[in-house]
Amino acid sequence: MRRKDFIYLTGIGAGAMMLPNFSALGSPVDASRLLAEGMDVATKKALADVALNTAKAAGASYADVRIGRYLSQFVATREQRVQGVANTESFGVGIRVLANGCWGFAATNDVTKDGMAKTAARAVAVAKANAKIGGKPVELAPQKGYGQVSWKAPIEKNAFEVPIKEKVDLLLAANAIATKGGASFVNSFLAMINEQKYFASTDGSYIDQDIHRISPNFQVTKIDQSAGSFQTQSSLSSPMGLGYEYLIPSAAEKVTGVVTRYKQRYDMLEDIAQAAKNVSEKITAKSVEPGKYDLVLDPSHLWLTIHESVGHPTELDRVLGYEANFAGTSFLTLDKWKSKNFKFGSEHVNIHADKLQKGSLGQVGYDDEGVKCGEWELIKDGILVNYQATRDQAHIIGLDKSQGCCYADNWDSVQFQRMPNVSLKPGKTPLSPDDMIKNVEKGIFIVNNGSFSIDQQRYNFQFGGQLFYEIKNGKIIGQINDVAYQANTQEFWNSCVGVCDESDYRLGGSFSDGKGQPQQVSAVSHGSSTTRFNGVNVINTKRKIG
């Protein structure tokens, strides 16, 4: 699931609530503030030690401290107007403790010795109060302290160093191209995030990290007033764990074909020109004939199917029931994993989890409970072999250490299990998307993600898309419309008959994947090459109202 309203402003809300416009991400600041130095590491260490010592003295068996500075910038435009520029900063500390076998958490934006001591004491009090209600005591996987270490995202250009005017100029230039290309309306956006996180724990880790993410996007709309219809097209960009270099086009990072797609560099001006053309074709494209089709799914589309049908059901907290009241549980129960022969997919399906891939949203040195990040297999040759776990879950699947899947979306949110990058490995035999399409008799090539819905145990899903190209006898013959496919997760992945090779490998991803109560967002990438699934059920989504 992705949170619908990234920033939720005053509105209907809880129905009764009338609260001011709290930004979901922090308080508005001057753009120059985004480049200002935060608190120095020595001060953070001294403050963190106050919290850790207070927690231990109050009876905590374990404590961790996250001093976080979360910075963001948003630029939004519409046709030739700037709709808004927002710069936000959020700074504070979250303290988590284990006392009497139970977790406790408290947070404050009073990042002083006094604030640390009071908040640590509050966290211990919460843990002790919760422990009285009962339940199994928390069992933490051991984790050695790393001492004082740091990790910086390997970006080439901090997006906050680029003047706002340059960003506005880019978006307005893109909008002008869309309008010239026949779009009735165009909206474009740029979102940039920097997380400056300091983690310290009673295990002896003091970890300083600097993480950057960027998400360029647009939507062009074509109206046919006489027919009373409209269609939209979104950009073929992906949110990435990159700096502003993502917006510097590079021919080597393009995949050409019926439509140009992008790897680690994006060409917004080129993409919006093709979107304006494609949306004009789409509004008159013929409606799909429902039935069984072989689907050829581009990575710009497949990432979301991977996210929903592989990423979420392999989250161990869902498997165990921790998310039952909201996001749901999982069909990938422990008995299926223990059997060592649960056939999740065909032999072409090799899916791994990692927090290492270059340019990915999940790339980070250490997770939010001080575990160094790595890579592991989830589905090997089609068989379920592993899950995604945090320190307090590792023992349940027989691991002696965490897989580093803990994340909190802010200093005042409690960290919990979140999805690492989950990606489909490319095929080992050389195969291009064009060669894959050549062998399809009756199929649809789907580019970019559209609507998405999956049940609470991740069996039954339905996905739409942005661009649907009809394939007949090995050739793309043009756009069709009103396509969605429905499948059962296991049947779908077992219908996978081929994955293109690594030269086609690309990342897609979600900038704001939602989970938990209260809901938290996280950003995650999913890589794949173009992949073919045979005999998938396609429905027609055209309806008529009034």
């Binding site: 009338m18 308080s27 947070a107 409209f230 009241n325 039954n460 429905q486």
Partner: protein
């Protein structure tokens, strides 16, 4: 200083405005406090308390506006935040849609505050959760739940003399009860302004009853069925159409756009049994009596006996179109009818009772075609009786088509949308020809 009184807020905002040198200045102050408990596997999984107060300043020179905020309230900080907003305004591009601030107005006092709810403590929350846990264990089930209370205030003032203040409190509770083996599941959600109305034991009993009644669910063929949607299911479906926005309709990109141009205002859009309105003084779901633009929020009909009665117009769009602004509402209420759920079941030859829907997404913005699934209590009805629990379905249906197929309505109650967690007043609904397109094995 989480909850300021009207007088305290007014005095502070007056002081902030006194520092302004801009053509226009708007200041807003908001504070909130509250806490939550989350449970899973019949134990508390997380719990926390939050509070905070923030001051926002919008300064305008000509049509150029800058915004800044702060959460420190000494005189130097207040002056600093005003200066910062003014500096940002000078750098900002002119906003062609800028509307000058409104002058003084009188707003009715809202009924959104409840002192008992605002006074909730970690102990009150723990007791409510213990009650819920008791009902879960009595039914031999395992729960995951969430209880949250929030209280807050907001106040705005501008250099033209407008001042408005509101405070509110709210508590919500939701629980999912499942068998240890994960073979059955039931859900209940409740929300109130007044904590005294919240019965977590009773709500959990209903969730447990739904779970235990779902044992051995059978698969039946998907297709078009008469459905009885409980308010929790209806709210999540309908909130996707509760955007009665004039601008997107006039631009041709909404389900309220008319073929050939214009909007569906005045058209019979849905069945005449359907009336949808907003009223800040609804006692079950009260709302604020003013909005951020300084407009008074009054009782407003959006759909009256099936006819589109009003669309919301921002002040900018209203001026451009030469009409009166119609503010976005602070609540939404769908009027009901006289049927009870029992009567709806009794009058159904063949149908499905739906307790809750899940993971609804827009498939087609033009027709509001939605897809999603049933969850936590789906039952087959034959010859006026619930016959047996059924496996969950995926549906593909538009709320506009659904409201054209309404056969009977019950008494509206406060229902919380499963995903947005926003509340609406929604009646139970009996609807014919609801389209289920496939089966799901999910429990």
């Amino acid at each position: 200083m989480a909850i300021l009184t009207k007088e305290q807020a007014q005095a502070l905002l007056k002081k902030v405005l006194s520092y302004s040198k801009a053509d226009e200045c708007e200041v807003a102050l908001g504070g909130r406090m509250g806490g939550n408990i989350r449970t899973a596997l019949n134990a508390v999984s997380t719990a926390s308390e939050t509070s905070g107060t923030t001051l926002f300043v919008n300064s305008t020179f000509g049509k150029k506006t800058g915004s800044a905020s702060i959460n420190e309230f000494d005189d130097a900080s207040l002056e600093k935040v005003v200066r910062r907003a003014e500096e940002l305004a000078q750098l900002a591009p002119p906003n062609p849609e800028f509307m000058p601030a409104l002058g003084p107005a009188t707003f009715k006092e809202s009924i959104t505050w409840n002192a008992d709810t605002a006074a909730m403590t970690p102990d009150t929350r723990a007791e409510l959760i213990a009650q819920s846990m008791k009902a879960t264990k009595e039914a031999g089930l395992v729960q995951a739940g969430f209880l949250e209370n929030t209280s807050g205030f907001s106040a705005v003032m501008n250099s033209k003399g407008l001042f408005a203040y509101n405070k509110s409190s709210d508590v919500t509770f939701s629980v999912t009860t499942r068998s240890e083996a994960g073979t059955v599941s039931g859900y209940a959600a409740r929300g109130f302004t007044d904590i005294k109305k919240l019965d977590t034991y009773g709500a959990t009993k209903i969730a447990a009853m739904k779970a235990n009644a779902s044992k051995d669910a059978r698969a039946i063929e998907p297709g078009k069925y008469t459905v009885i949607l409980e308010p929790t299911a209806g709210a999540y479906m309908l909130e996707n159409m509760f955007r009665f926005d004039a601008r997107s309709a006039e631009e041709g990109r909404s389900f309220l756009s008319k073929k050939g141009g214009g909007t569906r205002l005045g058209d019979q859009l849905v069945d005449e049994k359907v009336t949808i309105y907003s009223d800040p003084f609804n006692t079950e779901l009260p709302g604020a009596t003013w909005d951020r633009e300084g407009l008074s929020l009054e009782k407003t009909y959006w759909i009256d006996k099936g006819v589109v009665k009003n669309l919301s117009y921002s002040r900018y769009w209203a001026e451009k179109k030469g009409v009166k602004p119609v503010p976005f509402p602070s609540n939404i209420i769908m009027e009901g009818g006289n049927s009870s759920v029992e009567e709806m079941i009794a009058s159904t030859e063949r149908g499905i009772l739906v307790s809750r829907l899940w993971y609804i997404r827009m498939v087609d913005q033009q027709t509001l075609l939605l897809t999603g699934l049933t969850r936590d209590g789906t039952f087959y009805i034959e010859n006026g009786k619930i016959k047996f629990p059924v496996k969950n379905f995926r549906f593909n249906e538009s709320p506009v088509i659904m409201l054209n197929n309404v056969e009977a309505l019950g008494k509206p109650e406060r229902a919380i949308s499963v995903e947005s967690y926003r509340s609406y007043m929604i009646p139970p609904m009996k609807v014919r020809d609801f389209t289920f397109s496939s089966l799901s094995d999910a429990v």
